[in-house]
């Protein structure tokens, strides 16, 4: 899965913020705040990552067991898929 073109992640004043630019801005004029974990997953998804790759990246970065990481990845993915930010 990969983040759709036109969504950019920026660090502003210590916050991770995603906005839509270009044609994507016509459909989404909002703004998404991500915490550090959300930003990590988003960056992975910008490159195109599978669920397992996302889980692995969390295990590398955080001290967390695999099942908790999977739950968190699934929860995050469900949110951004529902919002229409990713493409298969």
């Amino acid at each position: 899965m990969k983040i759709k073109p036109g969504f950019i992640l920026r660090q502003v004043a210590g916050q991770s913020v995603v906005v839509a630019v270009g044609p994507a801005a016509a459909n989404f004029n909002g703004m998404i705040y991500l915490n550090p974990t959300g930003a990590l997953l988003w960056q992975q998804l910008e490159q195109g990552s599978t669920r397992e790759q996302l889980v692995e990246s969390m295990l590398v970065r955080y001290t967390v067991d695999r099942s908790s990481a999977r739950l968190d990845v699934d929860s995050f993915m469900a949110t951004i898929i529902q919002a229409g930010f990713v493409e298969p």
Binding site: V21, N35, L41, F76
Partner: protein, 603 residues
């Protein structure tokens, strides 16, 4: 673990619209009405709101409402329930395929997307005193036709009134010097302005702001923040206050906090989009070997404590004259469209997020000639092959000349004072003070610079005083970010006359002469606005350059575009007659104090 909080402008707009309509809706018709209507099929009720004025006056004109059966027709008055449960009595303005658009007779904004299942009733008639007037009455039908067809005209009047109320009333309200916070007699606008300056100063000094006083009027503060576009700075200050002191959060009303955060978020989104576009532009210029030199906001944002704290309306980039055509083509290839081509810059748009001005000269006229060729003194930015930066003295002189132009054509706001303060802090170790002062003296900006610098230091320096009772402070606070339409009109009227002659006439106290001059100036201004010159209109209508005899067509096109797109501007043609000689006198006096009368400012 991860938060994903989306905030949509669309949703906010809907919320805002509801809040506005709430105050004017039929509040008197409570929820039980719906039950009675469903039970007996009709009801007589009296609206409390003013949204249907002049047809229905609050708490005076009872209406007979019948349960709706079938589709409503255009111009029917419908009783419907909003999704938040509120009952509203408004006129149907548009019948859609599956929904309606409604609007009160006393309102401008149509409320779209009213679904069939939200419609509860239809007004059959209303009472005027003892008489019942049916909605089929010919007189009522004439009123409906007249009122609904005059929507455009009413929009002009009501929008004008709203803008006047929002800016003129709050910004131009006479302020008294700030009194101690403990006294109850402090002027609300002065208190709000003083606290706004304190918030900004706290961010600039990377400190926590003081706790707000109980008497602080947050509504006025919010209007000032919005007018001066200090949303991100104030949001940053409040965040810092909340982090430093648990009491801070309870001192800020929830509604004001929500509004300020919403404004700050909107600006943050705008900044990120602008930043992204600038990166694309720079990459394109680099790829095509076009030298570029960022100006104004593009440089200033990095002088602030953090990028994005400064609101930027448009992006200004200086391009070498010989490379301008290539630069415009490169920008157009990125999807930008040409908006206008003025004597010293080409303006291009990229959607709503960015307006780009590609300058080929910094300043025109005498002052531009004195500034000389800044490319000779510009240096590579050290991060790219074709990016340049102005010499600090040139940057500051240009910034002040640009401010002087705005000062003379509408005013400058608090942001300009912050710009002056952060520029000095950012560049002072790299510039030659004597060289800068010589340059400012040469450009005729020494007095202007020193007065503004003193005020900036007074507000945002090491020991800020937040004084705001002198004429210059008052002018800046009432000017919004880059002046208000009213202020620009006033200054334009003042500029119509021969300044020196007017000043002399005033000094000799020839009141009649002054009145006559002002009348002529007002008339001249009106004529110049309704029938602008060919050169002025050629910026918007470039075809005029080839066919100047089509000037009357351009006048008509301009008039049509104003009526259609900016009807609120028409109010100035009426507002101008309220200008008093004293107001013009104050403008001339201030310009004389700052030595701006003799400047040839066409930047």
């Amino acid at each position: 673990l991860s938060t994903c909080e989306a905030e949509s402008d669309c949703q906010n707009n809907i919320k805002r619209s509801c809040t506005l309509n709430e105050s004017a809706s039929a509040k008197g018709i409570d929820a039980s009405v719906a039950a009675v209507l469903a039970d007996q099929g009709w009801i007589v009720a009296t609206p409390v709101g003013n949204s249907m004025w002049p047809l229905l006056k609050r708490q005076r004109n009872a209406v007979l409402i019948r349960q709706a059966a079938g589709r409503l027709r255009r111009h029917d008055i419908a009783l419907f329930r909003r999704d938040n449960g509120q009952l509203v009595l408004h006129r149907v303005m548009e019948v859609g395929y599956q929904d309606y658009a409604c609007c009160g007779d006393n309102q401008l904004t149509w409320e779209h997307g009213i679904r069939e299942d939200q419609i509860l009733g239809l007004v059959e008639g209303f009472y005027r005193g003892e008489s019942f007037i049916s909605c089929t009455d010919p007189g009522y039908q004439r009123y409906v036709r007249l009122w609904c067809s005059s929507m455009g005209l009413r929009r002009i009047c009501l929008q004008g009134a709203m803008v006047m109320r929002k800016t003129a009333v709050i910004l131009h309200r006479p302020a008294r010097p700030v009194e101690p916070a403990c006294t109850q007699t402090a002027n609300p606008r002065s208190t709000a302005t003083a606290y706004l300056l304190q918030l900004v100063a706290a961010v600039l000094h990377r400190q926590s702001p003081p706790l707000p006083t109980r008497s602080l009027d947050w509504a006025i503060l919010t209007v000032l923040v919005e007018a001066h576009h200090l949303e991100r700075l104030v949001d940053q200050a409040i965040r810092s206050g909340e982090a430093a002191d648990p009491q801070f959060e309870s001192c800020v009303p929830a509604e004001a906090r929500r509004k300020l955060r919403q404004l700050a978020n909107s600006n943050l989104r705008r900044f990120i989009r602008q930043d992204y576009e600038i990166s694309r532009l720079q990459a394109s210029f680099e790829a095509q070997a076009i030298d570029y030199l960022p100006l104004k906001g593009l440089v200033l944002q990095y002088c602030y404590p953090a990028p994005g704290l400064r609101y930027m309306t448009d992006a200004d980039i200086l391009i070498r004259s010989g490379q301008l055509e290539r630069a415009v083509r490169a920008v157009q290839a990125l999807g930008y469209t040409m908006a206008s081509d003025s004597p010293h810059h080409v303006m291009l748009h990229q959607g709503p997020s960015l307006t780009l001005e590609l300058h080929h000269t910094l300043l025109s006229g005498q002052i531009g000639h004195k500034l000389g060729n800044v490319w000779d003194r510009a240096k590579p930015d050290g991060q790219s092959n074709h990016g340049y930066q102005l010499a600090p003295e040139d940057f500051t002189a240009y910034l002040l000349a640009h401010m002087a132009k705005h000062f003379s054509h509408g005013g400058i706001g608090i942001r300009s004072l912050i710009d002056i303060q952060v520029t000095r802090q950012h560049f002072q170790d790299n510039w030659n003070e004597q060289s800068l002062q010589r340059k400012l003296q040469d450009l005729g900006l020494r007095e202007f610079s020193s007065r503004l610098q003193a005020l900036a230091n007074d507000w945002f320096g090491e020991n800020p005083a937040f004084n705001q009772d002198d004429e210059l402070s008052q002018f800046i606070i009432s000017s919004a970010m880059i002046g208000t339409c009213e202020q620009a009109t006033l200054q334009s009227v003042a500029a119509q006359g021969k300044h020196r002659q007017l000043v002399q006439a005033r000094q000799q106290n020839i009141k009649q002469n002054r009145q006559n001059n002002l009348l002529q100036d007002k008339l001249r201004w009106c004529i110049s606005r309704v029938f602008p010159s060919t050169s002025e209109l050629a910026i918007t209508y470039p075809w005029l350059t080839g066919w100047p005899w089509l000037l009357p067509i351009a006048w008509l096109a301009r008039a049509g575009s104003i009526v259609w797109q900016r009807p609120q501007n028409l109010r100035l043609l009426f507002w101008i007659w309220q200008i008093k000689p004293q107001a013009v006198h104050r403008i001339h006096k201030l310009a004389a104090q700052l030595n701006l009368h003799d400047l040839d400012l066409q930047a």
